[in-house]
Amino acid sequence: MKGEVVVGGVRFANPVLAASGTFGYGVEFKGIANRLGGIVTKGVTLEERAGNPPPRIAEVPSGIVNSVGLENPGLIKFKRQILPKLKKIKTRILVNVAGFEVDEFIRLAEGLEEENIDGLELNLSCPNVSEGGAVFGQTPQKVEEITRAVRKRTKKLLVVKLTANFVDPRETAKAAEAAGADAVTVINTLYGLILDDNGRPFLGGRTGGISGPAIKPFALFCVDRVAAAVKIPVIGCGGIISGRDAFDFLCAGARLVQVGSANLTAPNGALRVLQELKIIISEKRIKGWESIVGTARRG
């Protein structure tokens, strides 16, 4: 069908997805979820997590900084309470999984393998507990190790979400590709620190992640570079709030895009991006998404 995008053998009805953590588990606004190319659930960990103390969000010029701290019910309750509802959504569903040990990623992948979902997105932004806090996604070796371990246990679409904090995402993207990932999401939030009037950390989690239009130029830059470095598809993410933003990411080399913070301005944020993107595509008389992917690289 015209308008579809295929990534790792999975067909997406259109290239716009809701990004993890900004659209709940997708079940809250089913009508919107059904019209998107897909949704990525809020991050799920093996054990239940209460998340960080408030405040969990602050606004900065053209962006936000969050420190939700992965509040989630854990794998077992997720499977029991949320998955049955997720199955009623007729769009592509990627479950975002996060762990603090390699073994946790393995058990999450095993625990979800028999479920009726389309794929996994590995969130490698958590600190590695056994190695004393270095974030998994910051070394190509760790990215490769986790991706390989998960690849062995899943036949589903496997997406690795990369961080660009203190690391060259071209290197971690190559590591993910070598280990068998079907695609990489570029990028997750950037580190941020907000101080209160007394010069102390404002967020309950002390630091947070910056998202929104403020990070778009950097995210676009990363997509451009990563798309040139790997052959697997790139999913662009970071600061997309309009159809024009999404168009830019496709031109920079993304095959799909994810919309995050824009969903906080209204639950139909990602849907609005899709509608605006469709208008741009039709006004430019472009046939099929594929023809614009990577135009920025073609000189």
């Binding site: 953590g21 900004t22 659209f23 709940g24 809250e28 606004f29 809020k42 209460a50 998340g51 960080n52 103390p53 408030p54 405040p55 969990r56 969000i57 602050a58 606004e59 010029p61 053209s62 962006g63 936000i64 969050n66 939700v68 509040e71 309950g204 929104g212 239009p213 709030i241 913070s261 969903n263 906080l264 301005t265 209204a266 639950p267 139909n268």
Partner: protein, 250 residues
């Protein structure tokens, strides 16, 4: 989802507090006391998040918002003029519980009086309502006449004694609570005020209007966490913003 409303009337209640009536015929019928709207500040996108504002009153086709000017967003919203369009999302949140045949004490500190006006209008139909309003000084008391027009008992307190009783609003509130048989309390104001009430009443249910920084306002981002006594957090935008105070840690 979000939609446009037209600003009908703007007035300043104090040097810092603005009252805005908007015309919203499609939602006035389904808007309940305790609920709020997410108001978009500007189109440019440099202020991304909506500002949560409680519904201060509902009359006919009109909704009233009352807010204190505290930062970038409320400064911009305070520049609004009749005829402007506002992009709003709502009504959001769980409505306040509506009792029947009870003695209700409604206690508002500062701009906290705002959402209590709509609540009082609805509660007074089937309950005896005692309204207690406080502020730092007389010029910061808001809505006194609006409450009086509802023909409910209104008691005032100011920190400096320039209007009503001298002292915190919690003094007359505690007195009222103690003289009533099986009262229910609704309170909106600074956290310290809610905490004091909760810790000093015995066996009296207190419902507080809480505030926390919000992202989405609709339950999908998990940013508006309020600590539960039994552990974990509730999502204020979905489980509140009116919360049974015994259930949370203030």
């Amino acid at each position: 989802m979000n939609f446009k409303v037209r600003v009908a009337e703007v007035s300043w209640l104090t040097q810092e507090v603005v009252s805005v009536w908007v015309e919203a015929p499609d939602v006035t019928g389904k808007t309940k006391p305790g609920q709020f709207f997410g108001v978009k500040v500007n189109k440019r996108g440099d202020l991304l998040l909506r500002r949560p504002l409680s519904v201060a009153d509902v009359r006919g086709d009109f909704l009233r918002f009352i807010f204190k000017v505290v930062g970038k967003g409320t400064v911009e919203l305070s520049r609004t003029k009749p005829g402007d369009g506002w992009d709003v999302l709502g009504p959001l949140g769980k409505p306040a519980p509506i009792f029947k045949g009870r003695d209700v004490v409604v206690c508002g500190g500062g701009v906290g009086a705002a959402p209590l006006l709509f609540l009082t209008r609805v509660l007074k139909e089937k309950n005896r309502v005692n309204v207690i309003l406080g502020a730092k000084t007389a010029s910061e008391l808001i809505l006194v006449n609006d409450f009086r027009r509802l023909k409910v008992k209104v008691i005032l307190a100011t920190d400096d004694g320039s209007a009503g009783e001298k002292g915190f609003v919690t003094q007359p509130a505690m007195r009222a609570i103690k003289t009533l048989l099986k009262p229910v309390v609704f309170a909106c104001g600074p956290r310290s005020m809610l905490k004091f009430l909760m810790e000093n009443v015995d066996q009296v249910p207190v419902w507080g209007f809480l505030e926390e920084r919000m992202g989405c306002g609709v339950g999908i981002c998990y940013c508006c966490a309020v600590e539960r006594r039994e552990g974990g957090y509730l999502r204020l935008c979905k489980d509140g913003p009116v919360v049974f105070l015994n259930e949370v840690r203030l």
